[in-house]
Assembly symmetry: C2
Amino acid sequence: MNRIITISRQFGSGGREIGRRVAQELSLAYYDQEIVNELSERTDYAKEYLQEIDQIDPLPLMPINIAQSFAQTIDPISEMNHDIFQRQSDLIQELAQRSDCVIVGRAADYLLRDKPYLFRLFIVASDDFKIKRCIEKGEVNEARNLKQLQRDIKKVDKRRARFYEFYTHQTWGDPVNYDLVINTSRLGIRRAVDLVKQIVENRQLPTESE
Amino acid sequence: MNRIITISRQFGSGGREIGRRVAQELSLAYYDQEIVNELSERTDYAKEYLQEIDQIDPLPLMPINIAQSFAQTIDPISEMNHDIFQRQSDLIQELAQRSDCVIVGRAADYLLRDKPYLFRLFIVASDDFKIKRCIEKGEVNEARNLKQLQRDIKKVDKRRARFYEFYTHQTWGDPVNYDLVINTSRLGIRRAVDLVKQIVENRQLPTESE
């Protein structure tokens, strides 16, 4: 029974870093960019496009329910995105079979919802924390000023939310869809890593029964 | 520097029980019904009314922003509720000064936001878990059938959300307003208690700096 940890996160909250560190410190497989690489080898899609897939609005300017029925029948770009999502989903299922692992983003929490040991994390942080972190990582530069960064933080999350809602019919970031939501601006990344490790190490299995 | 743990929770999620157990096992003061008792001794308000105060819609059928300006000037019931909220807030500040403690509900997370050691929890659970728990506690009976319980679960949370939003201008249950959100239908109440205890015992202070 593989231990599978899925990490969803607000842009800039440090979710990816938490995932990377947990995987490293517990010697679990880690899948993020790796999924893009593998997909691009298996398909004809450009890596750059695959990279951004969960930030591409499935069908902008349409209510989700209309977009859903529309997407797979008429619009060629949506059809392509749908195909990518399908292949990515198959790959995620395959990886989850292979070994213990950490998977970042890509609605993996939903795709793997029937797995017996699944730990679904959502990582949030205050705006100040996210901006400070992005600045430290050099994401404010000649190509992007502070105001643009603030806009981007909102934009990326909005798109992730629409992507998630489109494919899962669930609300992105609604705590009920996850097992634990950590606010890194309060607990800090190191403590978040330790908290997650402790639960995974002790095999404190998420369970519906008490 | 007192350790203050505030617990906000969805109705039926086991939040109150988590609070009670953490307080008991760590020998912290616990404030829930105690606040009602104390308030009713200090004021002329009936205990029964004080009990339900965070489930009374500040001003029903009005957008929050209109209700806010309207409430304190015209409507006598709103004026009374506002007075209760004020006295309750003062009492909560007083209790937080007194010793380490656990406080359930009452927007305490917001009221005490400037305290140096504050751990703000929000507890959620799946509908199935909440219903099962309520049934086990005998909350389905001659006076209330299952359908009514399901309605009540939604209704209580909706009112708590409006109460919270009215007084704090924040969204009730939005993970960014808390430090940790625990899904008890997945982690179970016992594990939730242990998780919280561990953070409090190690004085893993919530902090804005990493």
